[in-house]
Symmetry: C2
Subunit: 363 residues, 2 copies
């Protein structure tokens, strides 16, 4: 059956960023699925990852399927017969919410004049949206990767406003290894002459740079074993591996294809700002310790990691669990056997949808 | 005490590469330490990794210490009182051996006209050097990473010419994940406009591209935990993390510093050719199976891997061991507890020098 999906944008005034930046006006694009009940007590917030959008479920006119579709719909884990599911595009992105490719109050592209943003800023903007919709308390906030960071931050920053939280495939703070990958991605973009210090709007822009940055990211999303299974040392049919320096291993073709595909609709400057937000993510910020930060949580928490995640290791999610458990919080943790590495939360739905459904039904 | 080091170059004619390429003349640069005995039966060949040179031990005039110094010298694991230690620069490199930055017979830089090369080609050139020195049988061939691949290939290709082999931190064939990292490094270089299709000699060249490619490599050399310990989330003194998109995490400074340091003396085209040789490395090539390939080995073999190696996993070295063991070969394997990731073979000498010394004394 066709899922009802409503796409809207709301504008807010005077947004102050954690890093001190100020935005006179911020738009936030969001979609909703299902119906908000009279008490406004059945809302779930879904948070997306680095490259995502508000389009979490249903089909767009161009056929694009929502990025969390298998989980959202009638009878599904996020059951639209019961819940009103909201997904908004994060601050700094390029799918309807204000970001570096938006026009500022002087009629210019923000470009590199956009303020540095953080996951906290994304969450604060989502909070404004939830307030605007008249929702006092969310049933849950759920997301994977950067979406998981937002879910955890919601639980820490707004304990009164979320009954539960489901952070998946995310750490309590970004590791230096993840920062290193992001740094290289940014440097590749900024080293592309077509980046032009960020003022490339109206021109081709740093397409190669963004594609390469995305390729770096892709490596971190797949596990060693997943790559062995998916590609092995397969050489593309008809290629001579000795023929050219460019070579023709299947894994190279895949990276190339996906890297450039990404450039069709993602803004390079958004990539710079959002990866920096990932680097800056540290749930301990403005708290005296990890215990202090997680001690603020009152939401019933379901933590999920994936055994083959090589970007945000299970041990990192495990640390959140261990700390919350010691603080006697209502928390459970599942390190799920999965093959697809970090991307498991976007691929191996079968392995965790029952878990989420059960968790929500027993809130 | 000062180690005697002799630096020489020998030229050979008519070198045919595995991929079909032909070089009319090839120079090979090498250093030796210790004295070749009358029977020429005390020689050890040390093979270097991607960025190495023939300068394995002793000090150059500019103060550069050999990359394997702690292991080579009087009384050390590779005891120059007993052994005649040889290290040569690999084919395709830029430290004296013929590579893309060399001049061809027409007086032009090879640049991208250099033929595609493989680890087998490197080994075949080393074999010519060993023949030229009148050495019939090496005591051992030792190396880590690409050096380990060469050591294993020596044992497979020239069983009559090496009594033993010590491949460290290397697989039987390159994984798609390692190929992916190399591919991105190459693409970054080739996307730098100053690469100019490889014809950048006499100009600045793709300095930024090479630095970025090296940074990608660096991430794979360090382990997740090593990066946590070394950098954590430390921010450089005096920086405001919210200040600039470029940010100032210590790990970023480290990558930047090491990336650019590398460009001072490494040739970008050599980086393209040698990483491609790594991708093409497959000990099974021209053999019917891994068993067939490793079945050709007669050398007593010592395999070493490092627990935290995230580039060439211990399981990969373990597969060589398992296969050789099943073939009833004289092989032993140590997966050494180390913290420094792939680079452990260049850092944590204390953890394996005794092992190597003992292995050689009991040949």
């Amino acid at each position: 059956m066709k899922l009802f999906s409503e796409s809207k944008t709301i504008g807010f005034k005077d947004f102050v960023c954690e890093g001190g930046g100020y935005l006179r006006k911020v738009d936030i694009a969001y979609e909703t699925y299902g119906t908000l009940n009279e008490n406004r007590s059945n809302a779930i917030l879904v948070c997306h990852a680095l490259s995502g959008s508000a389009h979490a479920a249903g089909k767009l006119k161009d056929g694009t399927v929502g990025w969390f579709s298998p989980l959202i719909g009638p009878g599904k884990a996020l059951d639209t017969n019961r819940y009103f599911v909201i997904c908004s595009n994060v601050l700094g992105s390029c799918f309807g919410t204000t970001g570096p490719s938006s026009i500022d109050e002087h009629g210019n592209y923000y470009a590199m004049n956009f303020p540095v943003i953080t996951v906290t800023d994304m969450v604060n903007l989502e909070k404004r949206l939830i307030d605007e919709l008249g929702i006092k308390k969310l049933v849950t906030v759920i997301g994977g990767s950067m979406g998981g960071m937002q879910a955890l931050k919601w639980a820490v920053a707004y304990p009164d406003n979320c009954k539960s939280a489901i952070p998946m495939a995310c750490p309590a703070y970004s590791s230096p290894k993840s920062i290193a990958f992001n740094k290289i991605g940014r440097d590749i973009i900024m080293n592309d002459p077509k980046w032009a210090n960020g003022d490339y709007y109206g021109t081709e822009g740093p397409v190669e740079g963004l594609a390469l940055a995305r390729m770096v990211g892709h490596i971190t999303y797949l596990s060693f074993e997943a790559m062995n299974k998916k590609f092995g040392r397969t050489v593309r049919r008809g290629s001579d591996i000795f023929d050219l320096i460019e070579g023709k291993f299947e894994v190279e073709r895949y990276l190339f294809h996906n890297g450039f595909k990404f450039t069709r609709n993602f803004d390079p400057n958004s990539y710079l700002y959002i990866t920096r937000a990932l680097d800056l993510y540290d749930i301990r910020r403005n708290c005296s310790s990890l215990e202090d930060a997680l001690g603020r949580i009152t939401a019933k928490t379901l933590l999920v990691s994936f055994t083959t995640d090589e970007l945000y290791l299970p041990e990192e999610t495990g640390l959140i669990y261990k700390t919350m458990k010691e603080l006697d919080k209502d928390v459970r943790y599942f390190n799920i056997e999965a093959e697809s590495g970090h991307d498991s939360f976007l691929i191996e739905y079968d392995r965790f949808q029952g878990l989420i459904k059960g968790f929500l039904e027993n809130l």
